[in-house]
Amino acid sequence: MERDIRVRKIKDGTVIDHITAGQALNVLRILNLPSSSGATVTVAMNVPSRKAGVKDIVKVEGRELRSEEVDRIALLAPEATINIVRNYRVVEKKKVAIPQMVEGVLGCANPNCITHFEPVKPRFTVESRKPIRLRCHYCERIMCEAEIAKQF
């Protein structure tokens, strides 16, 4: 497919493609980018896409992100793909996967949940992927898609 390349190709690093339009900055926040390591990060938003109308893209130069790292973005960009680039060529391509257990990204929507009062990291088990439904490991309440989206 011939595509209008608005962002230049990177030599080595990671391209996260097919991010749900409008979520690129939240994706950066979850991945803690740009980090102090100084990697160059390029963001493209509302890029025309055959599949989804428009999409966002994030390119991280000089750093190969591990898939466990990138899987954390699956909550807001379930269609995203991770492309590892070496010497201008994509050597690995993967879809993000919602992990079995979500940790460190979200807080519990139940205001009376113990996680809001004690020094403990909220954790959620994934009850369903489509639509996304998470169960708090502590208070056992279900968080629905709307409650998750509100947090970003």
Binding site: I114, T115, P119, E140
Partner: protein, 311 residues
Amino acid sequence: MARTIIHAMRVEFAGRDLVSMRELSRQEIEHILNTAERTEFSGDVLKGRLMCSLFFEPSTRTRLSFETAMKRLGGEVVGFAKPGAASLSKGENLTDTIKTVSCYSDVIVLRHPREGAARLAAEVSDVPVINAGDGSNQHPTQALTDLYTIRREHGRLKVRVAMVGDLKYARTVRSLGQGLAKFGARLLLSSPPGLEMSEELCAELESMGARLEVCTSIEEAVERADVLYVTRIQKERFPDPEEYRKVQGAYRITPELLEIASSRMIVLHPLPRVDEISPEVDHTDRARYFHQVRNSIPVRMAVLSLLLGVV
């Protein structure tokens, strides 16, 4: 020659926690109930063991039941009962309290006004933790007591249970519902407007094996049930006092209402009651709520013995 050997799945409780009915299998529930039946025994199997009961929210009934169970088995009890949730704001956090207490006790019984407190305690404790109520989430030993009572009366747990009252906030409904679901029980739901069981819980109970039906009237529930499980509408669970006033006194179980019930139908209530069950019902042969109180002792004795690995 290849031979298939079928082992009965071993039920192992020693060293475990009891936090939620969700994680107990049907077989494990049966094992606890069977142990409770035997425990109407009992001897000093927990002599020299110490139970620490931490009640961050008042519940004299549950606390005394646990303490009695421990003492009946020859064990000892220390602990505290705070007068109200206000004391939560002061002092050390729950995590540190549990870590401290788990240094010298053999088992911890925790009642806490916040959901998830028992799970957290179980994670940081070196000794078994028993959830004696965490906010509006779970109360597994109450549910086990209810199941024990139902099984003693009807001989099985695949029964029709009418759940009446606050099906939205009452944690006993959640815990008992999850327990009954694993036995394929039919749940007849009857609640005042605004206190219906959440869709989330309905879906979960169905996925666990329960069959749910919403009753159009309390009479319908009474008429068809083997067990009438009545809950109290708890003022403190209501975010809005106005909402509470609307449903206060919305139903009342009387001997007249019970005339339409089947001859074997029994009435349960996790107690304390306010005015949901008229005192005249106490004198009928259907009332089983004080049996529940009595049954809570062997059930808690069984839980303590199992988690401490002495049976």
